[in-house]
Amino acid sequence: MRKNSIISSRTFKVALLGNPNSGKSTLFNALTGMNQHTGNYPGVTVEKISGGFVLQDGLNEAPLLVNLLDLPGTYSLYPKTLDEEVCYNVLCDDDNPDCPDAAIIVADATNLRRNLFLASQIIDIGIPSIFVLNMIDFASAKGLSIDEDKLSHLLGVPVVSTNARRKTGIDALKKILATELKRSEKTLLNVKEFINPYLIDEVKKIYPKKTDYGVYQAINNQAGISHFEAPSEKAAELKRLIKEYGYDKHKAQTSMTIERYKIITEIVKECVSVNEEQKRKSFSARIDKALTHRVWGYFIFLLILFLIFQSIFFIAPYPMKAIEFLFVKISELGRIYLPSGELSSLLINGILAGLSGVVVFVPQIALLFAFIAILEDTGYMARVSFLMDRLMRPVGLNGRSVIPLMSGVACAVPAILGTRVIPGRKERLITILVTPFMSCSARLPVYTLLISLVIPAKLALGYFNMQGLVLMGLYLLGFIAAISVAALLKFLIRVKEKSYFVMEMPLYHLPKLSVVGLSVYQKVKVFLLEAGKIIVIISIILWFMASHGMPGAFSRIDKNFANGDTVKKYTPAQLNNLISGEKLKASFAGDAGRLLEPVIKPLGFNWKIGIALITSFAAREVFVGTMATLYSADNEDNTMSIRQKMAAAADPLTGKKIYTAAAGISLMLFYAFAMQCMSTLAVVYHETKKLKYPVLQFVFMGALAWLASFAAYQLLK
């Protein structure tokens, strides 16, 4: 609960809030250092970042522990997006466990007028606050000087100037936090001039601790729609009163917004002086000439995209190989030193394999997020939206969808985690749902194998390699599918939240290492802990299916191969390959493959392909390894060997070849469209917080894959 003197308690909760691009995160890092926690607000996909630091003020002997909550950036206390609603709920709902004792309001000093809108709302709801003029150096460069004392007097709260990037002013801020905090004596806006004073007084009986403006906010939010509908007695009473007094939300909000800006304009006039001489053409304006140029702008953007791809495609594989190598070594050691048996198999082939499948994504995620954080932190991301919005709009996406969508070419997992930069909920959802169509790097080994199997290495039109053309066609197909499905979803998806494109084009900044590093760290951590859980569980299920069969099935195979003649015919390695191939066929995965056969027969697939479709769930490239096991290829890494065996494979009854051009193309189309990746499904669930989206995605993409393969096979066979 808020008190007039808050210093009495040993720990206290402080909220850090402000407009987007006000340098809030940098200030947060400067205050808390590495002592940070990330999580989610219950039930919603808004990231919750908090941190702690200790205040030693000298006046109080006991050190004060501050729990600082970094709220999402917002322009006002009128929530329109999920982010803003979280912010509103934390600040205005006294029952919220995160409800702060005090607030640090961060403002971009170059843009005092707009930043004061939110700040004055916070002051009016009666939270003891400090007003921080951040980026004060940019303001000076623009020729602005701000009279802090006068501002503090007019706002009724302490004011401090900081440059969070250089860490100046941080000590002053901490000192004020420890000593001077109190609830503002005055309110800037008199609510009773705009709303029936009797209504305010009646509602105040329900919420006695709120200020008049706090009461107005409660009324205003109740009159609208909410994502966090919490039907309580208080809320019911509030609803009744609102109805009784015929409260007009829209009218009240409009008149109060205009009045508030009038007051703010006066404050700015009194406190800010502009030195016209220094008001030269800014650095940002000059950079924008190039970066949003109609030729150079796109050229530079393509160049940046190219750079991101290159690094994800060509740099990430090195650490990824190292991680895989490490896990292979650990499981080898495990095989040597652990007693053979069920538990060891679960540990090595189930859990360890699952963990490896999770950790292996880390390099890609880290790289992509480093790039995204740099683009955001410099202010370039807003320019990308400006350039690309018109192109993406017809298919229901917006300018910020471009980078996540394109990085889907490397891997859908980091791409979907990256959709948080997309402002509108609908646009973000569409991007999440269509990104898996983009041809990811795990599909490449599958395509390579199948292309070499069924597409002749001839030249088409005299110049072009047929195999290369088919591969390019598959990538193009993925892109076209993503765009077309997005266009379809544009009409199908309805969200409560209205989406606005309106956004600020911030000044350019040099990227800050601590901001980039923390963003990478947070994303990786969330992925490992949240999506990782689901991936490991599914891995264990897959392991069980592939390594267990109906009672007696496996021991029969062991017995069959144990007789002397068979043993003599093969080398031990060949024998091993044969046995594991037979066992996979007899396993539950094999049974599932046979169960699938009637469904996939019209696509030209037999039950062996059915098994591979199931095991591919761990990652699409597992297709290759499964084929190797099924056909008992001599060496898993030897594509030639698998290819020869697959090429020779024929139906035992009819003697017809299985991997014909028709079946091969059908299979490639299946891999192009089907949602066969548990990691992606896990991340989609994590990012949407609803089971229906991954399920829908799985069903829809599966159906599309089936239809495409069916059409291709039936036409070509």
Binding site: R114, T254, R294, V502, M503, E504, M505
Partner: protein, 78 residues
């Protein structure tokens, strides 16, 4: 002369006189586009849309359809 914001030419300025009522108008106002404020068309995206305007001391990007909701009195200079 009163025109809608999307009709401004590059470099031209106007003073906001009114906004077409609705949820969007409220959003624009809280972003600082209140009646009486001066807006200048700073730049137009290469494909003609969205546009960037200078208002209240910063640069705001909005789509043309959104800008059409803001009515401005054209300032005759330059």
């Amino acid at each position: 002369m009163i025109i809608t914001l999307d009709k401004l030419k590059k470099g031209e300025s106007g003073v906001i006189v009114s906004l077409t009522e609705g949820e969007q108008a409220l959003k624009f106002m809280e972003m600082g586009c209140t009646p009486g404020e001066e807006v200048t068309l700073d730049s137009i995206a290469p494909l003609g849309d969205p546009i960037a305007v200078l208002v209240s001391g910063y640069k705001l990007i909005l789509r043309r359809t959104e800008a059409a909701l803001i009515n401005v009195e054209l300032i005759n200079e330059r």
